[in-house]
């Protein structure tokens, strides 16, 4: 008896490990297909179908083992559940099946075969893109866009999203509720925007991907500084855009390149114990050359068109770092040129702050401090830990111990990431 039970527990644990990644990936596809069938106004129902499907899979797989084609198995179960819902709820819930694509779902003669068409694996990536555009509707705020995408397309639980953005589950639930309400009111159809609207809409989508990646690259709050799962999800979503003819735009390739370059350094940025290793001290042999090559290829594809997005410039900057065989050999002059251009086209205090780091390399701490002495920067960045940390560093280099301590301590109060705090501690200790 005991052996049997422990066997069940073991295999169920194994199943959980094996299915975790699979479920996350396939859940997004299934939600995308289901919302295409039932409409975003029934998103909640779609999520329930996916949840039921995954639970059913766990129960059956623990018992009978994982099937040969687990994804196809999941799709088949979800499809049958969808058929069931249409049959049973025929008169209880009114689905909008009025357009030509959906109308044959209304008849028993054609419903099952029409349903099959919706579940073609070849069209699922398009369905995810359509849902991405729906989630980035201009009527939804940025925070809510990121949240609903992580929930519906990336298979994150409310708790996981709350953890990634250090807020309460309650806040995330409220955001999701409001977005779903928006979907219900608007009866939004997941669809590609018209060619005319695409240019504007794609910016919102790229912005969400960028935010997602940024949070993964340098998690502002969480205990782990780098959230690989967020990096992966952001890159997966962007890759979908690079693969679809309608969204193969220069800015899409540029963002993809930017993410490849940054992601290539992931393994060199932290010690085994999770301590931060700064760029000058990173072991460049650990940089993922495969990702750097991919980044180069994407950057080449980004070269078409006459519109220079901020992602182009940021990718070029990230490339310069990846291309240098050592910190000393970095082409700082070229970087300064890129930052100047970036700041001219897309002025932002953050860009000016980063530019000051380049100025520090080229002309020293004094000049860098002067570059930062702009009222606008101070006003906008005084509560940003990296800004205060940089000011501390510049003062430390100039031997201004009191000022350096003041800024490091300020930065310390502004970050909750353990690794960041440890680094600041170290800098403070070196001052005396």
């Amino acid at each position: 008896m005991t052996t049997f039970l422990s066997h069940v527990v073991d295999s169920s644990k194994q199943i959980h490990q094996l299915t975790d990644h699979l479920f996350r990936r396939e859940a997004g596809k299934m939600v995308a297909v289901l919302t295409k069938i039932f409409g975003t106004e029934h998103l909640e129902l779609c999520e329930d179908v996916v949840q039921d499907t995954l639970l059913h899979a766990l129960q059956v797989w623990v018992d009978k083992g994982i099937p040969d084609q687990p994804a196809a198995w999941l799709f088949r179960v979800a499809k049958n559940k969808a058929i069931d819902i249409i049959r049973r709820n025929k008169h209880a819930v009114s689905f909008d099946f009025s357009d030509n694509e959906h109308v044959l779902l209304n008849s028993g003669y054609s419903m099952a075969a029409t349903m099959d068409d919706f579940w073609q694996e070849g069209s699922m990536k398009d369905d995810m893109l359509r849902m991405m555009f729906a989630c980035c509707d201009p009527g939804i705020s940025e925070d809510h866009q990121v949240t609903i995408i992580l929930k519906t397309l990336c298979g994150f639980s409310t708790a996981e999203i709350a953890k990634a953005f250090v807020t309460t589950e309650d806040t995330i639930s409220k955001r999701l509720y409001r977005t779903k309400e928006f979907f219900r009111e608007q009866r939004l159809k997941p669809a590609f925007p018209s060619p005319a609207a695409l240019a504007v809409r794609i910016d919102a989508v790229l912005n969400v991907i960028y935010l997602l990646f940024n949070e993964g690259y340098n998690s502002t709050h969480a205990a782990e500084l780098i959230r690989r799962d967020l990096l992966e999800e952001a890159m997966m979503l962007c890759k979908l855009l690079t693969e679809h003819p309608q969204t193969q735009l220069p800015s899409v390739y540029a963002l993809m390149a930017l993410m490849c370059f940054h992601a290539s350094r992931t393994d060199s940025r932290l010690t085994a114990a999770g301590q931060i290793i700064l760029l000058p001290d990173q072991d460049r042999r650990k940089w993922d050359q495969g990702l750097i090559r991919q980044g180069n290829a994407y950057l080449n594809q980004a070269a078409g068109g006459e519109y220079l997005s901020r992602y182009h410039l940021e990718a070029a900057i990230a490339y310069e770092h990846c291309a240098a065989d050592s910190y000393a050999h970095t082409n700082w002059q070229q970087l300064l040129t890129y930052y100047d251009l970036l700041n001219t086209l897309y002025p932002s205090p953050i860009t000016m702050m980063n530019k000051a780091v380049i100025i520090l390399q080229l002309y020293g701490a004094e000049t860098a401090l002067k570059a930062l002495a702009v009222a606008d920067i101070e006003k906008k960045l005084s509560s940003f830990y990296l800004y205060n940390s940089l000011l501390g560093e510049l003062h430390a280099r100039l031997g201004h111990v009191a000022e350096a301590r003041h800024y490091f301590q300020r930065a310390m109060r502004q970050t909750r990431a353990e690794a960041e705090r440890a680094l600041l501690d170290e800098k403070l200790a070196k001052l005396s």
Partner: protein, 113 residues
Amino acid sequence: MKDYLLLFRGGPQYIPTTDGSQVPISPEWKQWMERMVQNGHYIGGQRLIGNTGTVLKDQRRQITDGPFAEGKEIVAGYLIIKARDMEEAVSLTEGCPLFGHADGSVEIREIAY
């Protein structure tokens, strides 16, 4: 445009299963109906569950299981379509999968308003 009722008799009788997996005739039906959707003729329609039915005559005099002597007398389903006239309605039944069954027949009736 007028509306027409298509009554299908005979052919495979529709008996749904609980898991919904056994739906024997829909791919062909879908293809045929899809053409009508694309040309704006389709309005709606369903299959009827075969084998059982109840026919009432007079008050409370019930004849269960209907008067169906054989499968070809059972109405297996109906569709409502739009057509210019009876001639066009007839032409629209071309390719209907029911004709693949020896006992299948379609009755076309114009719907009055």
